[in-house]
């Protein structure tokens, strides 16, 4: 009876998470695109729902809510479903969408995506070789094998992201790194950009006129294409033909267009820097600037400590929170039951870390997605992000119990 109640609670929360993931997908990620393949949206929402359920089950475990046997059952079920999605469905779909973007291979989409999936499985298996995962207790095709491999990938990804965040965060927050950009700089660049466009236009006008007169004269338009064509056009000079001139002008135009692209990107960069300067003058900006200094010092100290730990082969015995509380208590001389309170405080900290990491993850996902997606690659990128999301959450789930 209690099992039914517990299951219904868990399933209701799962449906809620599913709805939230669906809304997030529609409103935030795919704001500017049209969803044509509903499979992508479903997979993303399902992944999100099951990952959040895992967090929920951990919190229930700590708090002691619900029956322990039903918790165990749901945990196992969640694990199986997530592994299924992570290892079978998402890579296959990613391969499928990547292949369907390439025009040439459109006909043989299915067999090629199966091939890609098999390659992925091979590398995935090979990943576990350097690590002591294989033990005589469990067989080859057991869940432990899969989990350990996923854990390895998750930890690596988390470390990479944290490292990147540690360097990027101070860089964006601190105003020390901001160049001084004035309006005159921007205006000068814009003028150069427009001048380049004018030169391109005048050259294109010449080409268009030349092409038109040739067309009217009824000459055969034998455009020299490829390497041999260009060689031919250089050596032979047909009477009254303007072909060599056109290829020369075309090359100049290509170079100028490249220049205009660079100028455009530089101008956009200058505008972004100017906005950052204005932002740093506001109150919020000053606050983040201070945080940036604080974080950079903290990160440097952490790197230093980690290096020493690795070099001198030291292992931390107690977790930082307990140690911190011990030191504070001894210093202040207060009567404090350290063990009792540290557990609860650790749990609260873990909860905060989990919530902020989900929120930060969603925000980073959105920013990343906007930066690199286009109408063709949007599907692929969403699936990749779903894959990464599960990997990260796995790591958090399997390795955070030491805090509890």
């Amino acid at each position: 009876m209690s099992f039914l109640i517990d299951s219904s609670i868990v399933i209701t929360s799962q449906i809620l998470f599913f709805g939230f993931g669906w809304l997030f997908f529609m409103r935030q990620l795919f704001k500017d695109y049209e969803v044509r393949q509903y499979a992508v949206q479903v997979i993303f929402s399902v992944t999100f729902a099951f990952s959040c359920t895992m967090f929920e089950l951990i919190i229930f475990e700590i708090l002691g809510v619900l029956n322990s046997s039903s918790r165990y059952f749901h945990w196992k079920m969640n694990l199986c479903v997530i592994l299924l999605i992570l290892i079978f469905m998402v890579p296959f779909y990613i391969g499928y969408f990547v292949v369907s973007n390439i025009r040439l291979l459109h006909k043989q989409r299915l067999p090629i995506s199966c091939l890609l999936w098999l390659t992925f499985m091979y590398f995935f298996w090979k990943l576990g070789d350097p690590f002591p995962i294989l033990s005589p207790k469990h067989g080859i095709l057991s869940i432990e094998q899969l989990i350990s491999r996923v854990g390895v990938i998750g930890v690596t990804l988390m470390a990479l992201l944290s490292g990147f965040g540690a360097v990027n965060c101070p860089y964006t927050y601190m105003s020390y790194f901001l160049r001084n950009v004035t309006d005159t700089d921007i205006l000068a660049l814009e003028r150069r950009l427009l001048q380049t466009m004018d030169v391109i236009i005048s050259k294109k006008k010449r080409m268009a006129m030349a092409r038109r007169t040739m067309f009217q004269r009824g000459e055969v338009h034998n455009k020299p294409s490829g390497f041999w064509g260009i060689l031919k056009s250089v050596t032979t000079s047909a009477p009254g033909s303007e072909m060599p001139d056109l290829t020369l002008i075309q090359q100049e135009v290509d170079a100028l267009e490249e220049l205009s692209r660079q100028l455009f990107l530089e101008t956009a960069d200058l505008y972004a820097t100017k906005e950052r300067i204005e932002y740093s003058k506001t109150f919020k900006g000053k606050y983040f600037n201070f945080l940036g200094y604080f974080f950079s010092i903290y990160c440097v100290w952490k790197i230093f400590m980690a290096t020493i730990n690795i070099v001198f082969d030291r292992v931390g015995k107690t977790d930082p929170v307990t140690r911190g509380i011990e030191i504070t208590v001894n210093y202040l001389g207060i009567q404090f039951d350290v063990k009792f309170w540290s557990q609860h405080i650790s749990f609260i900290l873990v909860g905060i870390i989990i919530v902020t990491s989900i929120r930060g993850l969603l925000i980073t996902l959105t920013k990343f997605f906007y930066a690199i997606s286009s109408s063709k690659s949007s599907n692929v990128i969403v699936l990749l992000l779903a894959q990464i999301m599960i990997g990260l959450i796995f790591r958090a789930c399997t390795l955070s119990p030491p805090y509890c």
Binding site: E34, L193, R212, E257, R261, L265, Y271, E275, Y370
Partner: protein, 223 residues
Amino acid sequence: MASLDRVKVLVLGDSGVGKSSLVHLLCQNQVLGNPSWTVGCSVDVRVHDYKEGTPEEKTYYIELWDVGGSVGSASSVKSTRAVFYNSVNGIILVHDLTNKKSSQNLYRWSMEALNRDLVLTRVLVTNGDYDREQFADNQMPLLVIGTKLDQIHETKRHEVLTRTAFLAEDFNAEEINLDCTNPRYLAAGSSNAVKISRFFDKLFEYLFTPVILQKSLTWKESA
């Protein structure tokens, strides 16, 4: 060659709708072999005969400015794009017939180009603020082009075309639906080619009307 300072037409639309292919088709009468992302702005030139077939026929150059990017870009990119919107004589709005969002974004694109001041003060314009009045007395010639017509199935064609007819009516503009990989759609003498010719002719009529006359026209309508 008649000497005019410049005739500038903007080609606006979401990423991936086919603006570069369209511009290439219009200017060089050839299909673009390898379309890639447009960074910044790419320009091409079309030679146009104004008042073709009449004794007053004159040849002009029309510059087609294909501006890349999406409506949801960062405001720094939008400010950089705004430099291309100076002294524009006409706008071609391109949307993808297979993607409804690209048609809806056309309102935001036109607001961004026509109201440069809004871009610079970073006022967000959404669909709800779209002001029909502003387009009613807008004299700048607009043309709405829908691409990827070949990817629409026969059965759905009718409803898609009705939707785009409403869209063109909202902008008070002509509309053309075509497939940029098939030069047949713009073959000389076809109805699409005639519409394009008429649009370009309208540009010159708008140019040749003295500015004072234009202003008095708008005053008369708002009075």
